[in-house]
């Protein structure tokens, strides 16, 4: 059963290795769990799980593995003991009834519980006999009985099973959509440190070296402090099919601005697809030619496009930025290719769930940009992707598209 637990954990994506497993065995042999089921839950979690984002997966694996032993096992007894110890819950019963009920011993209650369960055939509420909710029968939930047994559900977080079932840590799952702090943490990994600026910091090694060469005459060597050199260009899709995601994108934007510690961060807005113009504001009033944005940013800049890439295929192949202008320019697809060609460290963040990514326009854009879901995991992968050198095959494709030689293909 315990090995099952190990593999259930691994199934849920908690990277448990022999190292942790042996530590758990050691802890259990030493009795750290206090020979209780809830203690076991706490000990196992402390040793096997290393980040709060895995707490929820742990809860699920725990529930799956040990569900069977709950009914007959010590969880019930522990719960029962806790119940018997807790006089607060007896308070509102009248003394006579309390006296009558209190003589039921733990084993007695337990025996009767299973007897009663065997007899019972249907759901029950209220009353004093059957297992159900409310009422004064010793068994069930939400009722009042001094030595009663609560069945399932949550109450005071007393049993390990109830604790695992409560899944209090669901909010910390990494595949969940992000909050700003998490985004900031994730993006911080992008930092590229390098010495830059004025020489203000003591370079100890060089100082020692130079001084030694100087026959002990002190020569102080200064160097520029380490600074983050990362430049990021953020392009945000707003409006249209992105409206439901606008809030999330806004958060990503603010987090990137505050927490990233980027040397430089510029963001521009576009609607649906990038054409000849980008906008400084989300209301599309302050336009900048896309060419200029490309020119003004160093090729080393990291390009992150945030959008659902969900649009009518026409919008990709259509030339020009509006239905109503008649001027013919490069298509949206070409513009995207040009951007990718200029900023070879690039990625696309997509707030849509991955199962929707088969839509033709999304698939076409995913040929240009590596696409990542807008979740903590997705951003983590994106960061790793941005740190790697760009793929040679993709680079060739970008060059083709940028010169207008390849069309949207699948679209």
């Amino acid at each position: 059963m315990f090995l099952d637990f190990l593999y259930n954990l691994r199934d849920e994506g908690v990277a448990v290795g022999t190292h942790e497993w042996l530590a758990l065995v050691e802890a259990l042999l030493a009795g750290a769990h206090g020979h209780g089921f809830l203690g076991f839950y706490h000990v196992a979690r402390a040793v096997l799980v290393h980040r709060e984002s895995d707490y929820d997966a742990f809860d699920r694996a725990f529930a799956r593995t040990f569900r069977g032993i709950e009914a007959a096992g010590e969880a019930l007894l522990a719960q029962l003991e806790a119940f018997l110890r807790d006089p607060a819950r007896h308070a509102d019963l009248d003394p006579a009834l309390r006296a009558a009920l209190e003589h039921l011993s733990r084993d007695e209650v337990r025996r009767r519980f299973f007897e009663r369960l065997a007899e019972q055939r249907e759901r029950h509420e209220g009353g004093s006999h059957w297992i159900g909710t409310g009422g004064t029968s010793p068994f069930g939930q939400g009722g009042t009985h001094p030595t009663g047994v609560r069945v399932g559900g949550q109450g005071g977080g007393r049993s390990a099973m109830a604790v695992a079932d409560a899944r209090r840590f669901a909010a910390y799952r990494t595949d969940r959509v992000l909050d700003t702090r998490q985004i900031a943490v994730a993006l911080r990994k992008l930092r590229r440190m390098g010495h830059e600026g004025r020489r203000t910091e003591l370079d100890l090694d060089s100082t020692v070296d130079r001084t030694a060469r100087n026959c002990g005459d002190l020569e102080v060597v200064l160097r520029p402090p380490r600074k983050n050199r990362l430049r990021v260009l953020l392009l945000l899709d707003v409006g249209g099919s992105m409206s439901p995601h606008a809030d999330r994108v806004e958060k990503l934007f603010s987090a990137a601005k505050r927490g990233g510690g980027f040397a430089k961060l510029d963001s521009y807005y576009f609607h649906n697809c990038v054409y000849g113009k980008l906008y400084r504001d989300a209301d599309f009033l302050d336009a900048v030619p896309t060419d200029r944005v490309m020119r003004e940013h160093d090729p080393d800049t990291r390009l992150v496009v945030v959008g659902d890439a969900y649009m009518h295929p026409m919008e990709l192949t259509f030339a020009g930025s509006s239905w109503w202008t008649t001027e013919r320019g490069p298509s949206g697809y070409t513009w995207l290719g040009r951007l990718a060609d200029r900023f070879v460290h690039n990625a696309w963040l997509n707030p849509e769930p991955e199962r929707l990514w088969r839509a033709p326009s999304i698939a076409a854009i995913a040929r240009i940009f590596s696409m990542f879901p807008l979740t903590l995991e997705g951003i983590g992968e994106m960061v790793a992707h941005l740190r790697r050198p760009p793929d040679a095959v993709r680079r060739a494709l970008w060059a083709e598209i940028a010169r207008g030689r390849a069309d949207a293909g699948a679209a």
Partner: protein, 278 residues
């Protein structure tokens, strides 16, 4: 062996956290604590040392901290300086070696509680550089060749505010606990520790207002335990009636919210000032 740790009255500890501490002490592994600011991560180590009657070493990590700083520092510049001006015995390198918090804990004959505070502030490689020392609880001073080995393994408590992801190899060696934000019941107990004679009605009204504020959307820095305690102190000092706390903007808001934008956001009574998109 009695594993149950008894914390003094000044620190309220949840059962799961107490268990995690026990496991860490038992397995002689570092205890890694994460959680929102103000959930008492740092205080745990202080109170752990106090309740064990053990010496306490605190190593406050900063962005410039290097792993060896906690073990020892070698003051090369001072030695150079001394050699130049002929002060002291320059040939004795030991004079220019100063042990750091971890180094002092290793050398001590009794079990020490070492707090490595805010490990995530340092360079991402920092935890990896400490792996070997924390595993073997020994290190060598390169300059003198002296090896310092812990006769009693110290209890190491590490806190992180989650600013940086810690390396897997490091995490594997730690016992981990995430301190969840206290629920109302626990919070009431914590407040009573700091304000033993607080009125029931004021406490209840203050907690209501506090959790209402925390639930507010989009706060840059939601108020935490320490802010609540300060706030209640302010309320009591000013003799504010519990009823006054039920309004949208509670008095002394600045005690709870430390960011201008947050104060402005709460003070803005019209909630519909969000910018709409086309």
């Amino acid at each position: 062996m009695d594993l149950r740790l008894h914390f003094d009255d000044g620190y309220i500890v949840s059962e799961e956290l107490a268990r995690a501490v026990e496991v860490a002490v038992l397995l002689e592994r570092p205890l890694l604590l994460k959680g929102e600011p103000g959930t008492g991560k740092t205080l745990l180590a202080v109170h752990l040392a106090r309740s064990l009657g053990a010496p306490f070493e605190r190593w406050q990590v900063k962005s410039t901290t290097k792993a060896t700083d906690g073990l020892y520092t070698y003051d090369a510049v001072r030695r150079l300086h001394d050699s130049r001006f002929g002060e002291g015995d320059v040939s004795d390198i030991g004079r220019y070696i100063e042990l750091g918090p971890l180094g002092r804990a290793f050398r001590r004959k009794e079990r020490t509680v070492v707090l490595i505070d805010e490990i995530d502030k340092a360079d991402p490689e920092f935890p990896n550089d400490l792996l070997h020392e924390l595993d073997t609880m020994s290190f060598t001073i390169v300059e003198t060749g002296e090896t310092i080995e812990a006769s009693v393994r110290p209890i190491v408590v590490i806190t992180s505010n989650n600013e940086k992801e810690l390396p897997d190899a490091f995490l594997r060696r730690c016992v981990f606990h995430w301190i969840a934000f206290p629920d109302r019941e626990l919070m009431a107990r914590i407040v009573r520790v700091h304000h033993p004679d607080v009125g029931e009605r004021l406490l209840s009204a203050a907690l209501d207002a506090f959790y209402r504020l925390r639930a507010e959307e989009g706060l840059r820095k939601p108020p935490s335990t320490s802010e609540l305690i300060d706030w209640i102190a302010a309320l009591r000092h000013a003799g504010i009636e519990p009823e006054a706390l039920s309004g949208r903007v509670p008095p002394f808001l600045g005690t709870l919210l430390k960011k201008e934008q947050d104060v402005a956001a709460v003070a803005r009574t019209t909630a519909s000032s969000r910018r709409g998109y086309r």
